[in-house]
């Protein structure tokens, strides 16, 4: 028995009516890459363009007022969804940009400090010195790895990472050892996009606090799938993307503690992030405007707000329970196929709906091709987490991810397609 009425939900998603590859039913199991969008989100975005489209925070006319109201109301609604204040929520192009915004706060504060330039009060938190360390984990998406590698490359800081256990969890011993007195920030994922592991945030936060390090949590795979509350998590930064949670492409979110956002120098600069401008120099607006240079993506914000309403109406507890049920079914059925190996925790506890697997003798690309031929859309490859593949000594994986519009028929379709792939390749 599901916690969600999947038939009713599916009716809201126009794309699920289409067929693929010779009139086959679309079995969409790639929501971990991007989710599909319900009418409610598409309508909200269209309604913005049809009724009040104009440049937010500019203009003296009624449309500009209404567009600004719609944009700021979206910010308030989305912030509330993760238990945050609207003033602490910054809209970005995507989650990758949100992480870069924080990594560049470190770089820019460090460079400006070396030049003796003015910095906001409290910016010492972001100034890196020789010997400082940045900590990530071995299970990060490239989006939460490369920006930190780049930061270290430019500043001379050292990147360290928390190791993984054979069953796909953060090694508790490594958490204690790697986070140390020189650690300035710990950036890690709430739920691994490849392994499905849901990390124990509290353990990492507790250790980070002991050494006075900041904590950034990549919530791309958690905010769409489970209740998330920033106060409860106790982190300093939380970022995620809109398009993985039924929202439009082109919008991501960064929530940060007020005192930290205020202490950060700007990332992308230009219009609307300023306070005063002269030819000699400029001063900057308070957050969130300081980090939103240029005309913002108001229609996408309105669409994402509608996505939040949609998920809230379903109840995030119900979303999580539903995915839990599908994930359990998939893990059980896939594990029962000879030659199939799950990469990631096989235990459903503290585990999300990303199910990665390999099939003996068949490369994931070829598995994916057979699945596609049968209408089952999955992702294959290293999932922008190449070091995870290296850690578990696989060249790539096939990954199915489940969401609110999937049901047990979709799990069955996946399992039958994997069996068909084995037959096709004689593996």
């Amino acid at each position: 028995m599901s916690a969600l009425n999947v038939a009713a939900i599916r009716a809201d998603f126009p794309i699920l009516r289409r067929t693929v590859r010779d009139e086959r039913r679309l079995v969409y199991l790639d929501s971990g890459a991007t989710s599909q969008k319900p009418f409610q989100v598409l309508d909200a975005e269209r309604n913005f363009y049809e009724t009040c489209n104009s440049a937010v925070h500019r203009g003296a006319h009624q449309l500009a007022e209404e567009a600004t109201d719609a944009y700021e109301a979206a910010r308030a609604n989305i912030a509330a969804f993760i238990g945050g204040r609207p003033a602490d929520l910054v809209f970005t192009k995507n989650a990758t940009e949100a992480i870069n915004l924080v990594s560049y706060a470190f770089l820019n504060a460090t460079l400006k400090s070396q030049q003796g330039k003015d910095l906001p009060p409290g910016s010492e938190k972001f100034i890196l010195n020789a010997g400082d360390e940045i900590v990530v984990t071995e299970m990060e998406h490239h989006a939460n790895l490369i920006p930190w590698q780049e930061l270290c490359d430019k500043t001379g800081a050292t990147l360290k990472w928390i190791a993984l256990t054979d069953d796909g969890r953060l090694d508790p011993k490594s958490i204690q050892e790697v986070i140390g007195s020189r650690t300035r920030i710990v950036a890690f994922t709430h739920q691994s996009n490849l392994l499905g592991t849901i990390n124990d945030v509290a353990t990492v936060v507790t250790r980070a606090r002991e050494v006075d390090a900041l904590v950034l949590l990549d919530a791309c795979q958690s905010v769409p799938h489970m209740p998330v509350d920033v106060a409860q998590l106790g982190v300093d930064f939380l970022m995620w993307s809109g398009h993985k949670m039924l929202g439009p492409l082109g919008i991501g979110c960064l929530w940060g503690r007020e005192e930290l956002l205020s202490a950060m120098p700007p990332f992308i600069s230009g219009g609307s992030m300023i306070e005063t401008v002269t030819m000699q120099g400029s001063t900057f607006a308070p957050p969130p405007a300081r980090f939103e240079a240029g005309v913002p993506m108001a229609a996408q914000a309105v669409g994402l707000s509608a996505a939040v309403d949609y998920l809230r109406a379903l109840g995030m507890d119900n979303v999580q329970e539903h995915e839990h049920m599908l994930t359990q079914a998939a893990l059980t059925a896939l594990s029962a196929i000879p030659g199939v190996r799950i990469i990631g925790p096989t235990d459903i506890k503290d585990r999300g709906s990303a199910v990665s697997f390999v099939v003996d003798g068949i490369h994931p690309h070829d598995v994916g091709q057979v699945l596609d031929d049968l209408g089952v859309a999955v992702r294959v490859g290293h999932h922008c987490a190449w070091p995870v593949c290296r850690r578990y000594d696989v060249p790539a994986t096939t990954r199915a991810t489940f969401y609110i519009y999937n049901d047990l028929d979709d799990v069955d379709a996946l399992v039958q397609a994997v069996v068909a792939a084995k037959e096709f390749f004689g593996a």
Binding site: R21, D22, I362, H363, P364, H365, D366, Q369, V370, D373, V380, G381, H382, W386, C389, P395, A396, F424, F425
Partner: protein, 162 residues
């Protein structure tokens, strides 16, 4: 099912029983090419045939999907101990076949014509071309772009790599 057009029997044979796989110890140039979207990798070495400096010897090691592995095996059949001109013509033909601007020609590509179905799947084209691009890169690095320049050919012929 369109799958049979992509995975012709001959492709699966090359995949399961690749020809010429394994790196030769001596080489004039070595390249490592990857397909960053899926992790296919090939290390390919080119050396100059000591008996005939116009001919290039090929060895390789690779991992990846059936298409990339079969394609490398076919490349070995077609281009090992062939001239740069023959190889370059085959690479161009393979690329054109993937872009669907050229009908497959068995005289040029041999078993490679069986890869024609890949052109229907844009996501797989890179898999099919990986080894061919690696060969061209390695051949040029081996000094083969100036086949008359025997000085370069001689100096690299017995090199042990970089």
């Amino acid at each position: 099912m369109k799958l049979e057009s992509l995975y012709q029997e001959i492709i699966l044979d090359h995949y399961k029983h690749p020809h010429g796989k394994g790196l030769a110890p001596n080489f004039a140039s070595e390249v490592h090419h990857v397909n960053p979207t899926c992790g296919d990798e090939i290390t390919l070495r080119v050396s100059i045939n000591p008996a005939n400096p116009d001919l290039l010897l090929v060895s390789y090691d690779s991992q990846g999907c059936s298409i990339s592995q079969a394609s490398a095996s076919i490349l070995f059949d077609q281009l090992n101990d062939q001239s740069f001109e023959t190889g370059e013509k085959a690479v161009e033909h393979m690329v054109a076949m993937m872009q669907r601007t050229q009908e497959p020609d068995e005289d040029i590509l041999g078993d490679g014509i069986a890869l024609v179905g890949v052109a229907q799947y844009p996501a797989r084209v890179k898999c099919a071309l990986l080894s061919w691009m690696a060969w061209k890169d390695a051949a040029i690095q081996a000094g083969a772009e100036v086949p008359n320049n025997t000085e370069i050919a001689n100096s690299t012929e017995l090199g042990e790599g970089k």
